[in-house]
Symmetry: C2
Subunit: 145 residues, 2 copies
């Protein structure tokens, strides 16, 4: 039980290392991890609103605005008016984003390979299962503090 003392620390350090490594690899794309996350989620949910994308990618709406500003000016993403709600925009990825998305796919595969090296399929499953469990636990504290 005492071994768990570092649980929080290792979690944080792990995440930091993971992000740093990812961004080192993604440098040529000049993308940060949140940007990749947004583009990735958008690519499989085209037509959603910014609010929804912010939820899916778990990014602050304000941060998402800036990410989209950039990606729109880079020609990767389109903001179209929502015919049902003139406040909202619907989001689409353009054809120009395809190569970037492929790169992101490749990158995340490489990241996983590096991070999970030496773990069996069963161990990987266990790890995901455990992380998801912890994630649910923490989500619960948000609603019920």
């Amino acid at each position: 039980m005492d071994r768990m003392r570092n649980f929080g620390f290792i979690l944080k350090n792990l995440e930091r290392l993971y992000t740093k490594r990812f961004e080192a690899l993604a440098q040529e794309l000049s993308l940060t991890l949140p940007q990749c996350k947004a583009l990735f989620q958008l690519s499989r949910n085209e037509g959603i609103s910014q609010k929804r994308l912010a939820e899916l990618a778990e990014i602050e709406p304000m941060t998402l605005v800036r990410i989209l500003d950039r990606m729109e000016s880079d020609g990767w993403v389109e903001r179209r008016p929502d015919p049902n709600d003139r406040r909202a925009r619907t989001l689409y990825v353009t054809a120009g984003a395809k190569p970037v998305l492929e790169q992101i796919d490749k990158l995340s595969a490489q990241m996983r390979a590096e991070a999970l090296a030496g773990l069996s399929g069963e161990q990987r499953n266990q790890l995901m299962g455990l992380l998801e469990h912890v994630y649910q636990n923490l989500l619960a504290t948000k609603v019920n503090p």
Copy 2:
């Protein structure tokens, strides 16, 4: 194998939730997680230099300077000159920091209880083992990119 797609995302989201929750709990102490980390590590390694503490707590040296500035003015930490190296300082926690350290202990115990609820002792061990493994994998990429 496809389940692992979200590995990076869940890692990041988990860490964010964990940190947010921790800081929500630590609000009364008006401490952030890095600050707690620094104080905690210092408390079990008194006499070390700032450089060393930055390594132990995995904080940027510059960030640590600011953390120490604050904790020194709050009377929790002392910077004493290093007799062997006039560039360096040696760090000590004061008696005034004791109640804070106890609070930190309590908080991190509560965090662990919340985060790990519903996991058996064996599962917790597995989780730590797997996380440490992944951590080592990522550390290796830093040295050998």
